[in-house]
């Protein structure tokens, strides 16, 4: 036991708590959602344990309670393990609880990503500690900002009280996902296809939704909405797929949606209520990126429902016409959790540029197949294929000869690759070494040597397989770029849109993900070639028509556009506007 002098503020720990994890009680959905005891519905979540400083400030997340609208910086909230399970009666008034709530939920999402990917995962900015501002400003928005290394949670008055986005589990998980995905796949914010423009929002909604559906408290409460409470058995006839969707999921979405007009609630509700229709994806309405993400969410939710229902059927009836309530809840929680692993792990199997929903589907199928080759028990992959097909999306992988299952990425084929000039050990982590491999094999791998090419990341990963052994993989990501004038496009085999001026200067992007197996051999090469006309032509046509060839969108703008279903016009650049302003200018 460490002794500590009174008043020694440098000292943090008195007795180090050596448990690897700890439990926090957080808002399960949103403060407006009440449990059967009429109190705010809460959930207990397990997150990595650490020695916190007041704030809380930890090794990956720090809360700085600064309100920009009112220019108030509150002192950091005290941290004490004994408070972790405390939930105040009056949520609105307890600033320390707000801080604990955002801290714990962000850490849970981070830990979930790390578990699924089998490695440490960084934020999208340089540095390690993401700043959370739980009362950042008065506004109907919450967003992640890479430049500010932070998530800002707005609050706003409604009907005499304040709505705090920092108390919405779904909003917190959504924003944390942005911060992580932007680090893993930074090019997804660049203009490309409607699919890619919609991916970030859709994916963040999927992670947020599956995160809450993997909480027992939430599923139990959602079932309560639909069935008689506190019974150990539920009538099986009340659990048709339709009833699970319309009774349980809609009820859940309704509650989230009502509470969060300004943020994602509305979009989330719309996703859940969408009925499958393979033609939707081609309609004007769903070609708009603001709505297209809903299709992605709906496809994954369709799979969730199908698997959940399949599991309920497998449990069988305990008494005539009745099934076990615990079993029904377990089925949902385990399904959500496994799907969460699949969708996160799929990021590693996606091409780094110009993502299409079909690519994401193939990535999910391959990611799961690698660890669970046998899909027969619960049919996850089958349900995903069906869920996507019901909205008109086919796997991006062409069906290779002799593939084990439809929709999986194929192996690199019969190409002869040169491994002798690179070292096995360095290939696991060193971008220069992987680049050498890429360059030596550029012809075999179809990498265009005219482009600027760089290795963005090399990640060694450990994943636990169904046979109990570790699946050891290395994921390396490269991107390519060529800057040219429009009249030179034909040199890449790309068609120039007819009314595009010849002298227009533009960039063409490409790249790939290389997955190496445990012996360092290339297992998958998931790519978008620079000169792939089938992909590049429609992309260029679309961007030219939209007038959107340059510039990344901020998450703040993405959210606003989604609520109002309207493009946010390019705003004047405020940072340059205020060069002589002490507040902004002093920042860098």
């Amino acid at each position: 036991m460490t002794k500590i002098k009174k008043g020694d503020s440098r000292q943090v720990a008195v007795v180090p708590n050596l448990q690897p994890t700890c439990t926090y009680r957080v808002v399960a959905l949103d403060p407006s959602v009440r449990g059967s005891d009429r109190n705010v519905l809460t959930a207990d979540i397990e997150i990595p344990n650490e020695q916190l400083s007041p704030g809380p400030r930890g090794y990956r997340v720090q809360v700085v309670d600064y309100d920009s609208s009112n220019r108030i910086l509150y002192e950091p909230a005290d941290v004490n393990d004994k408070d972790n399970l405390k939930v105040p009666k009056n949520l609105e008034k307890d600033r320390a609880f707000h801080a604990r709530n955002v801290y714990a939920i962000v850490m849970r999402v981070l830990a979930r990503f790390e578990r699924a990917l089998g490695r440490r995962v960084g934020w999208s900015f340089l540095g390690h500690q993401l700043t959370l501002a739980p009362h950042a400003f008065v506004d109907l928005n919450a967003f992640y900002s890479k430049d500010d290394r932070a998530i800002f949670f707005g609050y706003y008055p409604d009907d005499g009280t304040n709505v705090f986005t920092c108390l919405s589990h779904e909003v917190i998980a959504h924003e944390t996902t942005h911060a992580l995905v932007d680090g893993l796949r930074p090019d997804y914010l660049y203009p490309s296809s409607p699919d890619q423009a919609a991916f970030h929002e859709g994916f963040a909604d999927i992670v947020a939704l599956l995160s809450v559906l993997s909480l027992r408290e939430v599923v139990t409460a959602a079932l309560d909405l639909h069935t008689s409470k506190d019974q150990k058995l539920i009538r099986a006839s009340a659990l048709t797929t339709k009833a699970l969707k319309e009774g349980v999921l809609f009820g859940l979405a309704q509650q989230v949606g009502e509470a969060m007009y300004g943020t994602h609630g509305v979009a989330l509700r719309r996703s859940i209520e969408l009925s499958p229709d393979p033609k939707l994806a081609r309609t004007d309405e769903f070609t708009e990126p603001h709505r297209r993400g809903e299709l992605l969410v709906a496809a994954v939710l369709g799979a969730f429902l199908k698997i959940w229902k399949g599991r309920i059927d497998q449990f069988g009836e305990l008494q005539r016409g009745m099934v076990s309530r615990v079993g029904v809840v377990d089925g949902a929680v385990e399904t959500a959790d496994h799907l969460l692993t699949i969708v996160i792990r799929a990021l590693d199997y996606c091409p780094p540029t110009d993502l299409l929903f079909g690519d994401f589907l193939s990535a999910m199928l391959t990611a799961d197949y690698e660890v669970y080759p046998d899909d027969s028990r619960y049919g996850y992959r089958q349900a995903l294929r069906q869920g996507f097909a019901s909205f008109g999306f086919r796997p991006g992988a062409e069906v290779p000869d002799g593939a084990a299952e439809p929709g999986l990425w194929g192996d690199p084929g019969d190409v002869v690759l040169l491994y002798t000039r690179t070292h096995f050990e360095s290939m696991q982590h060193d971008p220069n070494e992987v680049f050498r491999f890429l360059w030596e094999n550029r012809a075999a791998l179809g990498v265009d040597e005219r482009a600027y090419t760089k290795i963005d990341a090399v990640w060694p990963c450990y994943r636990v397989g169904s046979d109990g052994f570790l699946l050891r993989e290395t994921v390396a990501v490269y991107t390519q770029q060529i800057r040219l004038e429009a009249h030179e496009l034909h040199q890449l085999g790309i068609r120039k849109p007819s009314d595009m001026p010849d002298d227009l200067s533009l960039s063409v992007y490409g790249g790939g993900t290389l997955i190496f197996d445990e012996s360092g051999r290339l297992k998958y090469h998931v790519r978008n070639r620079l000169g792939n006309a089938r992909r590049q032509n429609p992309r260029l046509q679309y961007l030219w028509k939209q007038g959107a060839l340059g510039g990344k969108k901020s998450f703040a703008a993405l959210h606003l556009e989604r609520v109002l279903r309207h493009d946010v016009p390019a705003a004047p650049d405020i940072h340059s506007d205020e060069e002589d302003d002490n507040h902004a200018g002093a920042a860098n």
Partner: protein, 424 residues
């Protein structure tokens, strides 16, 4: 054969950043010349508004036939303000006793509503889509008002207003100008929409002038493309702007946790300083996004008028942006109608997205040496935007206007004196 105007004179006054056009239709006797004033407002740059009002009064001989207020932005209607009483610019224009005042349908006071009023926010009481939409527009004015006030407190040491402050203040409501516009006409004001009669049809006073209204589209028309698809979405949008109005009013004036300890500005811990500076900038930039969005909503309520006189076509689109234009441009026959436009008032002071590519490229009289397309642009650089994407006027557009048409630009006036007079 009915009488025809012998010529048309267009006066473009230099109002700095804003619009003010006086159209004069000349007739042989016994008919008298008729004058239509399109917009009179400013929001930046130097402008002698009183001098301009006096010149308008003189040029029209104390009598206007009509006043058009294309939309409610300050840079189009501030000159109609009566603040300052009898000598105000608004009073001078009102004294010219226009027969009629034309405005977009969105200004119709009968349908106006307040987004934060309880009945609109209660979902059980369904308000009409139109009411919800108009309530949203009013809430946008209120949001802008609050932002403008707050941004004024953030001025830099030099004290010059930021882009945010300027943009916000252009979007605040102009109650006395609005009231003046409502009451100055001999007839009650006319509220226009795509395809409606212009209200300028008058065989006795203004013969030989055909006016087509090309915008703004009605809700039914435009929602096919953008704003909302069903009542639920109108409601959500109205709720959003209503809440945003409440939020904006609170910014800078609330303290969530008055009893909680906080740091003074000079005692902030080291690790928070980089962040708090960034947070302030992020907040402003986020606010600017919201204000830019509502600004473009209001621009898209602009009246678009096409005058046809003596075989010549004059196009006055206010500040209409792509969403407003796209309805008209997709209607049968409209592109043909616009092919041979002779004079184009450059939309929205030369911003990038107010002169859609498909509109500009279809003007058949571009690039002619004889009988070339005339363009008139009222603008002032340096008021809005600095980057290539956001600058008003946009460099690429100005280049195209200069090289492909006969451009008159208020920025080219020596010592800022005007008006620029173009005759057809």
């Amino acid at each position: 054969m009915p009488a025809q105007p012998t010529k048309v004179t267009i006066r473009m006054y230099n109002v700095g950043f804003g619009d003010c056009f006086l159209l004069t239709f000349h007739y042989d006797k016994p008919l008298t010349d008729q004058h239509i004033l399109i917009d009179f407002g400013t929001v930046g740059g130097k402008a002698d508004m009183k001098g301009i009002a006096a010149d308008i009064q003189k040029a029209c001989g104390g009598k206007l036939y009509a006043v058009v207020a294309t939309h409610r932005h300050k840079d189009h209607i501030s000159g109609f303000s009566t603040g300052g009483g009898k000598n105000s610019t608004g009073a001078v224009i009102a004294a010219c006793k226009p027969e009629v005042v034309l405005q977009p349908w969105t200004e119709n006071p009968d349908a106006a509503a307040d987004a934060t009023s309880a009945p609109l926010l209660a979902k059980t009481q369904k308000a009409s889509d139109q009411k919800l939409f108009l309530a949203s527009l009013n809430a946008m004015n209120a949001v802008a008002e609050a932002v403008a006030q707050q941004a004024a407190r953030w001025r830099s040491v030099r004290g010059t207003p930021s882009t945010l402050e300027k943009l916000a203040s252009n979007n605040t409501s102009n109650p006395d100008a609005v009231k003046n516009l409502r009451t100055m006409g001999k007839q009650p004001p006319r509220f226009l929409q795509y395809g409606s009669p212009s209200g300028l049809e008058n065989a006795k006073l203004l013969p030989g002038v055909k006016v087509t209204v090309l915008g703004p589209p009605t809700l039914k028309e435009q929602n096919l493309k953008k704003y909302a698809k069903n009542s639920d979405e109108y409601w959500i949008s109205c709720k959003y702007w209503g809440l945003q109005e409440g939020a904006a009013a609170k910014a800078g004036k609330s303290d969530l946790f008055p009893r909680e300890r906080r740091y003074g500005p000079r005692s902030r811990p080291f690790y928070t300083r980089w962040f708090t500076d960034h947070a302030d900038a992020a907040f402003k930039s986020n606010t600017l996004g919201i204000v830019t969005m509502l600004d473009s909503f209001l621009n898209n309520t602009s009246v678009i008028l096409l005058f046809e006189v003596n075989g010549k076509k004059l196009l006055f689109p206010g500040d209409a942006q792509l969403e407003n234009w796209s309805w008209a441009l997709n209607q049968k026959g409209i592109k043909d109608l616009l092919k041979d436009v002779d004079l184009y008032k450059v939309g929205h002071h030369g911003s990038r997205n107010a002169t859609p590519k498909e509109l500009w490229q279809d003007f058949g009289k571009r690039k002619r040496t004889k009988g070339a397309l005339k363009t008139m642009m009222s603008t002032a650089a340096g008021v809005y935007g600095k980057t290539e994407d956001t600058k008003v006027p946009a460099t690429r557009l100005v280049q195209a206007l200069k090289s492909e048409s006969d451009l008159s630009n208020t920025q080219d006036l020596k010592r800022g004196r005007g008006p620029i007079i173009v005759e057809l």
